[in-house]
């Protein structure tokens, strides 16, 4: 086996030395990495390994390894086992490779079930390239610093907040340089997220990290910062891996522009309500436009300042649910409805599987721990018997115990290493569960767009009927009714604007529907690959480690085989 045999009571060292690792032959790079038929199971394990980068990729991007030409200069050359390996013992090698990546004896790095991002700086992450190009982008978040809010602070001493250093490394020509950094605070991330939500309605936008207001007060500073740092890193990495969002200006600006973030901030709810409340009387008494402008229709009513529009849509949605008549336009797409139900079902199963995966990981962890404790207890016994030995039989027994103890300690380590790998593999379940949130967002974009259309259609029919009534009334008067005629003209204007708005709304609704459809197709394609990789990775891992564990115990069985004749 690799590594040294244990000496005395010293713990066995299981890592291959650095030199051994670097001497692994780098054979011809596997050319067609997507072709699962070509590559042996080891390389598919390798692509699974790449999913274990701590900035775990967004599930929706393809699991392609960076091709050598584009390989990250920061990474050591990717290590491939000779694909012409003669025997099936290839399973044994991957875990040793894994030894090097994930320092298993860093007890702190395994906090319960916080899956990834243990050593961001030393990660050998092979980032994924999104489906559209073979360029890669990698985001690192680091170096939290305290800063002072210098603008209009009512309290002397001011507001303090923390900023994080956000470093982008890329070889995409979209960006000016190949490496750059900015400082951003959490509020900026919220702003980015809100702007993206407005601009990319209908897309499965990765959900941003929670504000965690309570936790920020209750948790230890260090712990909270680290938790937030990891969450931010994951979030940003997912954003750049989304094939459409990575091209957005908002994101580019966020990542590149130093200093203050030049994106419009979201006014908070209170001031929105205040603005709206101010506008409302004017709207009702006809002083300002009671009409929805076409461009306003591009955004949902909920986030805006137009309370009147909000009320109208609310009324419409109530009418949809409780009213006797069918709304003017309905969700007709049966395929979509089925998909929606299926997504709901999938989410439930994912949640369940994710929970059981966590329990499994805990059980594996416990097994490793107890095995280790058993080993240590026997090591103490060994020492004791040796020290106090009065008979040779004691020394023989001590030797047997030592054999068992060292095996137990080794097995314990294997269990724990296996486990930290398992966590990363099964993390795919958690990731997709998170994706469900994004899907919900996209679906609700669709329904709110539909609601807007329905509201406008209702309004139009109301306006039309009002116009008809006025014309009927006015035609009865000979010579016309000056005031009525004026009213009719105004009404006709309103109708024209509302027609325009309706058309814009319909176009928007169709656009969102199309976005939904594309994203669902992407989900279908990528989900299959991601889950199969997860399973393969998990299984290969289990095989590799249990082979090792089996060897350890086989040796002990061998060495104690002399006693076999006495047992049943």
């Amino acid at each position: 086996m690799m590594g040294s045999e244990n000496q005395g009571f010293q713990e066995a060292h299981l890592f291959a030395s650095r030199e051994e690792m670097e001497n692994l032959v780098l054979d011809e790079p596997l050319s067609n990495l997507n072709d699962h038929q070509n590559s042996n199971s080891y390389s598919s394990y390798r692509s699974a390994i790449s999913s274990l980068s701590n900035t775990t990729h967004h599930p929706m991007s393809l699991p392609i390894l960076a091709t050598p030409a584009d390989s990250d200069p920061l990474l050591s050359p990717p290590l491939y086992l000779n694909p012409n390996a003669p025997d099936n013992n290839s399973y044994i090698e991957p875990p040793s490779y894994a030894d090097v990546i994930f320092s298993p004896f860093d007890e702190n790095s395994f906090n319960g079930l916080e899956s990834t991002s243990q050593n961001p700086e030393s990660s050998l992450a092979l980032s994924r390239s999104p489906s559209s190009s073979t360029y890669y982008i990698k985001i690192t978040v680091s170096n939290p610093q305290k800063e002072q809010d210098t603008t209009n602070s009512l309290v002397p001493g001011g507001n303090t907040y923390y900023t994080y250093l956000i470093t982008t490394r890329t070889n995409s020509p979209e960006f000016g340089s190949s490496e750059f950094s900015v400082r951003r605070r959490f509020r900026d991330v919220v702003t980015l997220s809100d702007r993206l939500a407005e601009a990319y309605r209908g897309y499965f936008i990765p959900p941003r990290p929670d504000k965690n207001v309570v936790e920020s007060q209750v948790m230890q500073k260090q712990e909270f910062m680290e938790q937030r740092r990891i969450a931010l890193e994951k979030y940003l990495q997912r954003l750049v891996e989304h094939p459409v969002i990575r091209l957005s200006d908002e994101l580019k600006v966020f990542l590149q522009v130093e200093g203050r973030l030049p994106l419009p901030t979201s006014t908070d709810v209170a001031s929105r309500m205040l603005d709206g409340a101010v506008k409302l009387p004017k709207q009702l008494f006809g002083e300002s436009t009671a009409v929805v402008e076409p461009h306003e229709v591009l955004l949902p009513a909920k986030g805006g300042t137009d309370l009147l529009r909000l009320f109208k849509e609310l009324r419409q949605s109530v009418a949809n649910d409780w009213g006797g008549s069918k709304p003017p336009v309905v969700e007709e797409d049966k395929v979509f409805m089925e998909k929606k139900e299926w997504i709901h079902d999938l989410e439930q199963q994912l949640s369940n599987a994710s929970q059981q995966a966590e329990a499994l990981v805990k059980a594996q962890q416990d097994m490793g721990e107890t095995m280790g404790e058993l080993g240590l207890a026997f090591i103490k016994l060994t020492k004791f018997e040796n020290e106090e030995a009065m008979f040779n039989s004691q020394r023989v027994r001590a030797a047997d115990m030592k054999c068992l103890a060292t095996a137990a300690v080794k097995a314990s380590r294997f269990y724990r290493e296996l486990n930290s790998q398992t966590v990363k593999h099964l993390d795919t379940l958690h990731e997709y569960l998170g994706l469900m949130l994004a899907v919900h967002g996209a679906f609700s974009d669709r329904s709110s767009a539909l609601l807007t259309v329905q509201t406008l259609l209702s309004e139009l029919s109301t306006l039309h009927s009002r116009a008809e009534k006025l014309e009927a009334a006015s035609s009865k008067i000979f010579g016309g009714d000056k005031s009525r005629i004026r009213k009719i003209e105004e009404l006709k204007d309103t109708i024209r604007v509302t027609e325009d708005a309706k058309n814009v709304a319909i176009r928007e609704y169709e656009r969102i529907k199309e976005n939904n459809r594309c994203e669902l197709e992407r989900l279908d394609n990528e989900r299959c690959a991601d889950f199969l990789n997860m399973m393969k990775g998990f299984v290969v891992n289990q095989v590799g480690y249990f082979e090792k564990i089996s060897n350890v115990w086989a040796k002990v069985a061998e060495e104690t085989s002399g006693y076999a004749k006495y047992s049943f």
Binding site: L346, F384, R527, V543, V556, S567
Partner: protein
């Protein structure tokens, strides 16, 4: 039973040649629940095969219960001071566990081991009480058993307890508070070793028990995970669905293997460790007996000295009580010699026993370790095999 007849130095076990060599082999089998409610208990069939002349015939079957075994142990402990009497499994405290299949089997196995150890011990196998235990009818056994157990101890025991208290009190009164102890450095070392050993073993046994639990827990979580994977598979279509279902099925298979291994671990590893702990506790009891014997010897020696002085005084004064005193003195002398003999027997026996004990334990542990390693290797192997068999199926799913 995992511990068959073991050939130890000096024991006479040869089931294969019954007529030539003397042998005595026992098996404890067929646990049956008898009685109702609180009175319920388990009875065992005890089958004896022997060619010892003192025994009735080549084979005898009797029915015994746990308290009968306790009686036997207590009798042997009384009679054979200095010998490490084989330990009995504990009385179970928890009510609902008392009749679980696992507990019953574990106890049966331990009782079988107990009797066989006695039967294969040179001296113990000669014991009348053993013969009674193996041969007497159930009524006789019940009578004997009820004499021993309960709060009504034999008169001799009561006398002894009384004397002990007297001695203690007089010691305190006379200012001799420290108990008299041997000044034998080797023996001191042994005592220290035994007490320390118990601690170490108890810890090892504790972790062994936990390990059994961990196996069960891992098995359970694999089962749950398997079910969840299957449900996920049902949700997905085609290749992916199939892959999840296969994964789930394999998980469930492995769960079963783990539960099985947990049971093996309990019987073949944890139980021997517990047995080891009990054996050490039995030695501690013998150590206590040795201390008693030593103290008695010392006390008698003291008393004799006093009596000698008294006798000389009486002889000098030509008292008419000389005769009486001489008589008493002779009696005491005999008692003292008896006490010395008893003590020295214990010392001699203990020296032999400790050698035997160490050898026995090395063998017992060797077997236990072997079984443990075999079991773990078997489990790991079948786990690797099971998962490995899944890989081609997963490959097929990806290329589909």
């Amino acid at each position: 039973m995992i511990i068959a007849q073991r050939s130890l130095s000096g024991s006479s076990q040869s089931p294969r040649s019954p007529s030539s060599q003397p042998f005595l082999s026992v098996s404890v089998t067929d646990p049956v629940k008898l009685g109702n409610g609180v009175q319920a208990y388990i009875s065992y069939r005890v089958i004896t095969k022997t060619n010892f002349p003192e025994y009735q015939g080549p084979e005898k079957i009797v029915i015994r219960r746990y308290s009968d075994f306790v009686w036997l142990r207590d009798r042997l402990f009384e009679k054979y001071k200095g010998i490490f009497i084989p330990p009995l499994p504990e009385k179970s405290a928890v009510e609902k566990f008392r009749f679980s299949a696992e507990f019953i089997e574990m106890r049966r196995q331990a009782l079988d081991v107990f009797v066989n150890r006695i039967a294969s011990h040179n001296e113990l196998q000669q014991s009348d009480d053993l013969r009674t235990f193996l041969q007497a009818d159930e009524e006789t056994m019940e009578r004997l058993r009820s004499q021993e157990t309960g709060i009504f101890k034999k008169p001799a025991d009561l006398m002894q307890m009384f004397k002990d208290v007297q001695t203690k009190v007089s010691d305190v009164v006379l200012g001799k508070e420290k108990p008299v102890e041997e000044s034998n450095p080797e023996y001191e070392k042994l005592k220290h070793y035994i007490f320390e050993l118990e601690n170490h073993l108890a810890e090892a046994q504790k972790h062994a028990y936990r390990l059994v639990k961990r196996h069960r827990e891992l098995g359970q979580s694999l089962s749950d995970f398997g079910k969840a994977a299957k449900l996920l598979g049902a949700c997905e279509e085609q290749a992916l669905g199939k892959a999840f279902s296969e994964l789930g099925a394999k998980s469930e298979t492995l769960s079963v293997k783990l539960q099985r291994e947990a049971h093996q671990l309990l019987m073949n590893f944890e139980e021997p460790l517990k047995d080891y702990v009990r054996a050490v506790q039995s030695i501690k009891a013998t150590i206590g007996e040795r201390a008693n014997a030593f103290r008695q010897q010392c006390e008698l020696a003291e008393t004799i000295k006093l009596k000698e002085i008294n006798l000389d005084k009486l002889m000098l004064t030509r008292s008419d009580r000389v005769g009486e005193a001489e008589h008493e003195y002779k009696e005491l002398k005999a008692e003292s010699e008896e006490a010395t003999r008893r003590f020295e027997t214990i010392v001699r026996l203990m020296n032999e026993e400790i050698v035997r004990f160490q050898e026995q334990k090395t063998q017992d542990m060797g077997i236990a370790f072997h079984e443990f390693a075999k079991g773990q290797a078997r489990l790991a192997n079948s786990t690797a095999d099971a998962w490995r068999s899944l890989l081609p199926k997963l490959e097929a799913c990806s290329s589909a």
